[in-house]
């Protein structure tokens, strides 16, 4: 009678992208094992370009693990093994010949807790362009720093104190500084792992506004525990549960009319 189906199989329920955006990241059968424990049991999803894709799901569902595969952050964890295919613009990012440092310049990351370097605001943003050799001159570097801070909607608040330490900013400003730092190296993809969970509602709104602006130029993947945030900022939503991708589809669809029973139970607050 109801439109919701209860499946026990682990086939992902998919609703295609009505906007038909080009695919930026293609993943197929991604499995992640930590030692003996398999945390992700084969996840396949295509992430569209210049859009925000949100990963939701209860703690331990594998959404952060999957996010960290996209810029090979799991390489840094001892005993972690990643199988399957992850391609960024048709390039296999687990290709042994691939330069991981270069990959992480293309796929930036913003973490849950703002983590500015213990350096000045200017140096925080200038750090990436410096090590990647993106600036030819001092003036060049200054311009990158200023535009990055502007894109992160932080410039007006900090323009008079660029030489003060980044750690002296408020939590919300620190998070926007981290976003400025991530976009200073002109990445193509920005991964965000619960970027607002340590912020107050106003700072959260500013970051969300920023995410909405950034999607014109970047492909954004965000992991969030706030369903409302996923509903507000993303165009596509993927629901993870116990290491499986249960459902993925247009955000408007997933939050008003999910197709899978477990998705509906989770987003309506009925999880056992």
């Amino acid at each position: 009678m109801s439109a919701v189906q209860a499946t026990t199989a682990f086939d992902t329920v998919r609703t295609p992208d009505p906007a038909n955006r080009p695919i930026k990241i293609h993943t197929a059968s991604v499995k992640v094992t930590y030692g003996q424990k398999e945390a992700l049991h084969g996840v396949s999803i295509d992430i569209p370009e210049r859009a925000v894709t949100a990963f939701i799901g209860p703690s331990g569902c594998g959404k952060s693990t999957f996010l960290r595969c996209i810029n090979r952050m799991n390489d840094t964890i001892a005993g972690a093994r990643v199988e399957g295919t992850i391609k960024l613009d048709d390039q296999d990012i687990y290709d042994p010949d691939l330069d991981v440092v270069e990959l992480r310049a293309r796929v930036g990351m913003v973490f849950q807790k703002p983590n500015p370097f213990p350096k000045s605001i200017f140096d925080n943003v200038a750090y990436g362009p410096r090590i990647h050799g993106l600036a030819r001159s001092k003036a060049d570097l200054e311009e990158i720093v200023v535009t990055s801070l502007q894109k992160a909607s932080l410039f007006n608040e900090v323009k008079d104190r660029l030489n003060e330490p980044g750690t002296g900013l408020s939590g919300g400003q620190q998070q926007r500084l981290c976003i400025a730092r991530a976009i200073a190296v002109s990445p193509e993809v920005i991964l965000m792992d619960e970027p607002c969970s340590a912020l107050d509602p106003i700072a959260t709104a500013k970051v969300e506004e920023l995410i909405d602006e950034l999607r014109a130029n970047f492909t954004i993947v965000i992991v969030t525990h706030s369903m409302q945030q996923a509903a507000r900022v993303s165009q596509r939503t993927a629901f993870f549960h116990l290491g499986h991708l249960i459902e993925e589809g247009p955000t408007d669809h997933v939050f008003t009319n999910p197709l899978e029973q477990r998705t509906q139970d989770y987003i309506t607050g009925r999880f056992g």
């Binding site: 109801s2 439109a3 409302q228 008003t256 009319n257 009925r270």
Partner: protein, 235 residues
């Protein structure tokens, strides 16, 4: 499955209960208004008019409660659809109450005019079907039964057809003797009101369909009201 926060379930149940309550009041108002018409019972008609306040009050209460739940719990998916559905349904029911009240007011106006029993029987018959429709669609909402709602939506053309034939009959009577005019016009409005009540029942059926499936009907519902195109020569 129940919500992790049990007070949320209580909120949703309270809204559903109020919709059932306002639905029951509307059913009674419609039945009483037509009973007052057939018996020319002025006292009953006045009770229907007075009772409309309670319907308005309940509709407000449902709306306020729904807004509060949205603000407090940010409902999603089927919960959100259920709350939006309850608000829409309460609106339709409130309108049904207004239409019943309008029929009751006409009983007072008709009083003293020579009534034609046969014509009134036609209105009564329309009313019986409209009441069945209303009852079934409210049950469909209470039990989240999409099929039952669909059946209500399919049956509305029956009321439309009855209305069309009554419309033609009334035209004939009015042409026969201008002294029938007052009575016939009041009766025509009563019949039109009942036809509108049927339409509201269909709206409710459409809301139930949305609540249960998350989708809107794609195909048009059957329609049989031909009175709009009727003329005196064509009647």
């Amino acid at each position: 499955m129940e919500h992790t926060v049990s007070a949320y379930d209580d909120d949703l149940k309270a809204i559903a209960r109020m919709v059932t309550e306002i639905g029951g009041l509307a059913e009674r108002a419609v039945g009483d208004s037509v009973a007052a018409l057939t018996r020319l019972d002025l006292a009953l008609a006045q009770r229907v008019v007075a009772g409309d306040k309670e319907l308005d009050r309940l509709q407000h209460e449902i709306e306020e409660k729904a807004i509060l739940v949205i603000a407090r719990r940010q409902p999603m998916a089927n919960d959100l659809r259920e709350i939006v559905g309850a608000m829409r349904i309460a609106n339709d029911i409130e309108r049904i109450g207004d239409l019943a009240k309008n029929i009751a007011k006409r009983v007072v106006a008709i009083n003293g005019v020579f009534p034609n029993k046969q014509l009134i029987t036609g209105v009564e018959h329309m009313c019986e079907i409209a009441l069945q429709q209303l009852k079934r669609v409210l049950d469909a909402f209470a039990s989240q039964d999409d099929q039952a709602a669909g059946a209500v939506r399919q049956r509305d053309d029956e009321i439309d057809a009855l209305y069309t034939s009554l419309f033609r009959e009334l035209l004939t009577y009015m042409m026969e003797d201008p002294r029938n005019l007052t009575f016939c016009i009041h009766l025509l409005f009563c019949a039109k009101n009942i036809e509108r009540i049927g339409d509201h029942a269909t709206n409710i059926a459409e809301s139930v369909h949305y609540v249960v499936t998350g989708r809107s009907y794609e195909e048009e519902r059957p329609k049989a009201d031909a009175s709009i195109t009727s003329t005196i020569s064509g009647s």
